[in-house]
């Protein structure tokens, strides 16, 4: 899905360069140290917490799709799901049940895409 980016750090660095924001200025704007951001960009350290990811999204003027990509990459780096999802899943038992059902029935991408398209159609 995110084959164009090797990892979370590369995504952040490329978007920052596209926006012509020097590393230290970017670090100041999201409230972390320049060495920490540098380590993140070079894939040496884990992504920051969700509040900082929201700030990064704002500073880099990410679209909704780009923000989703960033969160997916952040989850992958942490060997976990995207950090915006655990809260949603934990607050809704039926989501966990649906995910387990999909897993047990080996639901594929086509089936999930159809489900998502149906949801979008119903919600406008």
């Amino acid at each position: 899905m995110n084959a164009q980016y090797q990892n979370f750090g590369e995504f952040i660095q490329r978007k920052r360069v596209e926006n012509q924001i020097p590393l230290r200025k970017m670090a100041e704007r999201i409230g972390i140290s320049a060495p920490y951001l540098s380590d993140i960009e070079k894939d040496r350290r884990n992504p920051p917490e969700m509040d900082k990811l929201e700030l990064i999204s704002q500073v880099l003027l990410l679209s909704e799709d780009e923000k989703s990509t960033m969160l997916d990459l952040a989850g992958r780096k942490r060997n976990s799901v995207a950090p915006d999802l655990p809260g949603y899943i934990m607050e809704r038992d039926y989501v966990s049940a649906a995910l387990r059902t999909a897993r047990d029935l080996d639901a594929g991408e086509d089936e999930w895409m159809k489900f998502v398209a149906e949801l979008k159609k119903r919600k406008g």
């Binding site: 360069v17 230290r24 140290s33 320049a34 070079k42």
Partner: protein
Amino acid sequence: MYKPSYRTQKNGVPVLKKEEIDAIGEAYVQDFQPEVLRNPAPVDIEGFIECYLGMTTDYQYLSHNGIYLCMTVFNDTDKVVVWSPDTNRAEYVSAKARTVIVDNRLLEESQQHRYRFTLGHEGGATTSSTRSSSTTTQTRCRSLAHRWPP
């Protein structure tokens, strides 16, 4: 982007008079941030290094005692020696070509003047070494070359 022209030795080392270095520096500023030549103001040195020259910055402890202020990596390498305060010993990190690694100590508020001068110095080294760096992996700059005020 401005491209200076100058004589070089057979090994690619530029041959420049002091006045020529000044003129090249001014031409870069004229191209990158011309307004500061009319209304003196600090040059956006990080913008010059990262956005204009297209270099990558990194921040590490380059030594245990601060003797090295910065270094430029000319070719991709995974053998940059840095000092780790966590383990109190030297370790390797990787860096891509055209990376400027600044010593973390220069990020302290009291070191901002050295930080700016150091970035400018590395930018100058990079713009004048593009033809002579094919076999050089990295260069380090010691603090004595940057002491300010002199």
